[in-house]
Amino acid sequence: MSSIKEPAQQRASVLQGTLDMLILRTLLYGPAHGHQIGKHIQRTTNDFLQMQHGSLYPALHRLERRGWVTSKWETAPDRNREFKYYQLTDKGRKQLAVEESQWKQMAEAVARVMWPGTEES
């Protein structure tokens, strides 16, 4: 049991930081429910990032617990059914900015190591 679990957890933790950022960024367009968020990320990356439901929902609940998003049950405009909509809070917006700049620094740092010279010219 435990021998399979460990690598999976490692992978999730690598993804975790970026997943939070992607969700927050997606919610910048307006409130959305879990399915929409997942589909949006998948579609915008041309299905490069396959959305794992197993990490999407825990991530949403984690964000809510930290106060970066709030949730509300609302009827979808195109369907006669209620969905749980997540909405970005002010705190969430600030967090997004922080994570974005961190990610940018990270990406640049990685790029400098991976393709030296291209940046300096």
């Binding site: 049991m1 021998s3 399915h35 439901h53 969905f83």
Partner: protein
């Protein structure tokens, strides 16, 4: 998030996942998939929704609790499946934990609970020591004269006070109420750091003679007797026949230990709580008495940061100064002893309590060992289950958790039951509190006790669950699963562990049985000892003459004479007599007899215990005369005396004591009889030197009446009261008891200890027997085939029988030897509690081992019979 929100949150989460799931499904259908395919695709995309939910639960932070509840549920299910085992284990733990908690509560209340005063650790009692009198009185109360000197010259005490406590009549008309009054110097308020809630404290002036008729009531007395009258201040009450003006009421929280009960040695007479405080006014004569007035209880508060040792050193230095300045006729060697107040209150009750606590912990240990044993046999039968779990990838930590959770649930259930049991037992233990410490109100199970029970439950889990858990954690799955046998055999290591456990049980049981035997033998000897007086058909009463109307010896003697005349003329009465102190109620008044011609300073004179008695006292309690005769009413007014044999031997060695003269104070006395040495002060030791003087010479306001009757003495109680009241209705008669009852009461505490120990020892024996039986039955089942093989190869049934018996009794015998060794090792602790019994008593030791072996053998018989009855053919054919 609160745990009760979890259910709601979880429902919400489920709904969310469900709605998104449905949406996905719809979209898949819209992409052209069939309903069936769409559902499968969606399931694939979402994966395991339960797992998702569990992950989300983890983010909520309550996962450990959930796992715990899950474990508990699982363990409950497992326990439910074997109710016999569960109930036995649970009750064993409940009994052990409950009994230990109850005894702990008693011990805590007596020895550890802080006294209800500010900074109670700074409160100390002061006792004096006079080297010349140390044979009779190792320590003495404080003298007012010395106290005054200390008060003026000390630098280590914040404040000090001396006090006395008496039971006095309150109210003047009809039958007065008896209350306990504390006479104290004004320092008591700063010593105890208390203030009256209503009114004021005593002033220094009020501690002067002529101004001392003021009183402060305790809250309870004010509430019960004066209906909490808010205008009570300034009212006059009659106390001891004198008018006292009420100047204050103490707060409800004020509880003062009775100092009377500490002074009366060897008495279990229960006092009422203190009801009223009055100033102790010391006359000039008293203050001038340099060695003659060692009568006060000394209580003091140390200055902050002062150690007891420092206070002791200073006080002893002051005592040295006092002794150096004593006049020649009262020359004495003085010292003092400063003791924490709490320690003084506990007195010599510490050791019996510690022994009880030790015994009950022993019982708990035996209980835990038994449960461990049961768990071990269960662990063996669950080996396959564990092996499967291990093979499926359960980590060692998870296996241990699986193994220990049953124990934990058992301990929690047992602990819970134990707390209930303790809560039921504890209030009944109130009457076993030392009288001096029985002042805090009703005894009940409190948080300290519950905390103790919790701790015990945890310890029990560890003690009982450790061995099985250890065994389980070493499970090698392939071995267990490979062996096809359904009857998985127990490893030699586990069998060894179980034998060690049985040996521990045997050791603890034998030590408990021996201890119980020693104390029982002591008590039997104590009750059978020749006490020198008889108790048949004898009833006693105490009277308490109000000081105001009976202020001198003549008045008191006249009253006693009148009562005796009326009592002795009653048809049912054989003898009626007064004595200044009843048998077993303390040693009474100590004083010195000066033999004519002896001119030493009086502090160097031998100290005797004096008793004022009426002529028929000796025949009333059956105290025999060795020589001479008792005085009679016809000798009224004459200074005659009877002495005990011990007194005669030390005052007039080698001479005929009859007709000898001695003086007490400045009164000469003639010895007219010698009384045999008896045990009227304490059953445990022979009386000190006693001198009996007639009651017409001197009598105290408090006295005891002894009546030997022709009929059942208990019917006389009312007659005695009525006769006393026919002489004076205003005389309180606080107690009426049979003399036999007083003898019983004097050993009530020992009897209680013995009863408890007996209960513990019997329980431990029973558990040990159960342990032996369990282990042996199990090993016989395991060795079923082996037995069959032995018999098939020609072994006699008797051989098999002995094999099993020896197997079962070996650990018991080893345990018994260890137990006796432990008991002998702790002999020093016990010996002071024993009466004419050696802690190494060979008969009792052999008896304890014998009892254990008998129980062990009984427990072995059934399994041995079963082993011997194995049918070889059948045994070898199975499997």
């Amino acid at each position: 998030m609160r745990w009760w929100q979890i259910r709601k949150r979880d429902a919400d989460l489920e709904r969310e996942l469900q709605s998104d799931l449905e949406l996905e499904e719809e979209e898949q259908r819209a992409n052209g998939l069939s309903a069936e395919e769409a559902r499968h695709a969606t399931r694939r995309a979402f994966g395991n929704t339960t797992l998702i939910r569990e992950h989300i639960h983890e983010t909520w932070g309550w996962a450990p609790v959930e796992r715990l509840l899950q474990d508990a549920r699982y363990a409950m299910r497992q326990l439910w499946r074997s109710p016999g085992f569960s109930i036995v284990a649970m009750l064993t733990l409940a009994l052990g934990i409950g009994a230990t908690t109850a005894i702990f509560t008693l011990v805590y209340d007596v020895m550890l609970r802080p006294l209800p005063f500010a900074q109670p650790d700074r409160l100390v009692t002061i006792k004096e020591k006079v080297a010349e009198w140390s044979n009779l009185y190792p320590t003495l109360p404080v003298s007012a004269n010395h106290f005054t000197f200390w008060q003026q010259h000390n630098r280590t005490f914040h404040s000090m006070a001396i006090m006395q406590q008496y039971s006095v009549p309150l109210g003047a008309s009809g039958r007065p109420l008896q209350v306990e009054a504390l006479w104290a110097t004004p320092g008591i308020f700063s010593v105890l750091q208390i203030e009256p809630e209503l009114g004021r404290k005593f002033t220094v002036d009020e501690a002067q003679q002529g101004h001392e008729h003021v009183a402060i009531l305790t809250y309870d007395l004010w509430y019960q007797q004066f209906a909490g009258d808010p205008g009570i201040l300034g009212k006059i009450i009659s106390l001891n026949g004198f008018p006292y003006s009420i100047i204050g009421v103490m707060p409800q929280s004020f509880r003062m230990p009775s100092i009377q009960t500490m002074a009366t040695i060897g008495s279990t007479h229960r006092e009422l709580p203190i009801g009223v405080l009055v100033p102790l006014a010391l006359s000039k004569e008293r203050l001038a008495e340099e060695m003659g007035d060692l009568n006060y209880f000394g209580l003091a508060r140390l200055k902050a940061g002062t150690s007891i040792a420092a206070a002791n050193a200073e006080l002893n230095a002051l005592q040295h100064t006092i002794a150096a300045n004593l006049p020649a006729d009262v020359k004495a060697t003085l010292s003092a002893e400063v003791t924490p107040f709490q320690e003084t209150l506990v007195g010599n009750n510490r050791k019996p309590l510690m022994i009880l606590l030790g015994a009950v912990v022993g019982l708990l240990l035996v209980g835990c060992v038994n449960v461990a044993n049961l768990l071990l046999s269960r662990a063996v039968s669950q080996k396959r289950q564990m092996a499967v779990a291990a093979a499926l990838g359960a980590s060692r930590a998870e296996l241990v958790r699986m193994a220990i959770r049953e124990t934990a649930v058992l301990a929690v259930l047992g602990g819970g039951l134990g707390v209930l049991l303790a809560a039921a037992i504890v209030p009944g233990m109130q009457r076993y509190l030392p009288p001096a410490l029985d002042f805090r109100g009703p005894l009940h199970l409190d948080w300290a006790g519950v905390g103790c029970a919790l701790l015990l439950a945890v310890l029990a889990t560890l003690a009982a669950g450790a061995a099985p858990a250890f065994m389980v954690s070493r499970t090698a799955p392939q071995e267990v699963l490979h062996s096809g046998s359904r009857l998985t055999s127990e490893s030699p290591r586990s069998l060894q562990a179980r034998r060690v456990l049985v040996a521990i049980e045997a050791a603890v049981s034998v030590a408990l049985v021996l201890m119980t035997g020693l104390l029982t033998a002591s008590l039997v000897k104590l009750m059978a000892v020749d006490r020198g007086f008889t108790t048949e058909r004898t009833i006693t009463a105490t009277v308490d003459l109000p000081s105001e109307s009976y202020h001198d010896d003549q008045k008191r003697a006249a009253f006693y004479r009148e009562v005796l005349e009326r009592m002795n003329s009653l048809p049912g009465v054989e003898h009626a007599a007064f004595t200044s102190i009843l048998p077993l109620m303390g040693d009474g008044w100590g004083d010195m007899a000066r033999v004519t011609g002896d001119n030493r300073p009086f502090t160097q004179l031998p100290l005797e215990s004096f008793r004022s008695v009426s002529p028929q006292y000796f025949s009333a309690i059956g105290l025999r005369l060795a020589a001479g005769k008792a005085f009679s009413e016809g000798d009224w007014g004459k200074n005659l005396a009877l002495v005990s044999q011990k007194t005669a031997k030390s005052l007039w060695p080698g001479k005929d004591p009859l007709g000898q003269q001695f003086s007490r104070g400045n009164q000469p006395f003639t010895v007219m009889g010698v009384v045999v040495d008896a045990r009227t002060v304490s059953l445990a030791k022979p009386d000190p030197m006693l001198i009996y003087v007639p009651y017409w010479y001197r009598v105290e306001p408090m006295a005891g009446l002894v009546v030997r009757t022709h009929q059942d003495p208990s019917e006389m109680a009312d007659v005695i009261r009525q006769t006393i009241w026919s002489v004076d209705r205003g005389v309180p008669v606080p107690t009426v008891r049979t003399l036999g009852g007083m003898v019983e009461d004097s050993v009530a505490n020992q009897r209680f200890e013995m009863d408890l120990l007996l209960l513990f020892a019997v329980s431990a024996l029973f558990l040990a027997g159960l342990g032996v039986y369990g282990v042996l039955t199990y090993s016989v089942t395991q060795r079923y085939r082996e037995m069959g093989l032995r018999l098939a190869l020609g072994a006699q049934r008797a051989n098999v029988y002995w094999l099993v018996l020896r197997d079962g009794l070996l650990p018991v015998a080893i345990g018994a030897i260890v137990g006796i060794a432990v008991a002998f090792g702790s002999a020093r602790v016990v010996s002071s509690l024993l009466f004419e019994v050696s802690p190494y008593d060979p008969v009792l030791s052999a008896g304890a081992v014998g009892v254990l072996l008998a129980i062990g053998t009984t427990a072995c018989l059934l399994p041995a019979r079963r082993a011997a009855a194995v049918e070889p053919m059948q045994a070898l054919r199975t499997e």
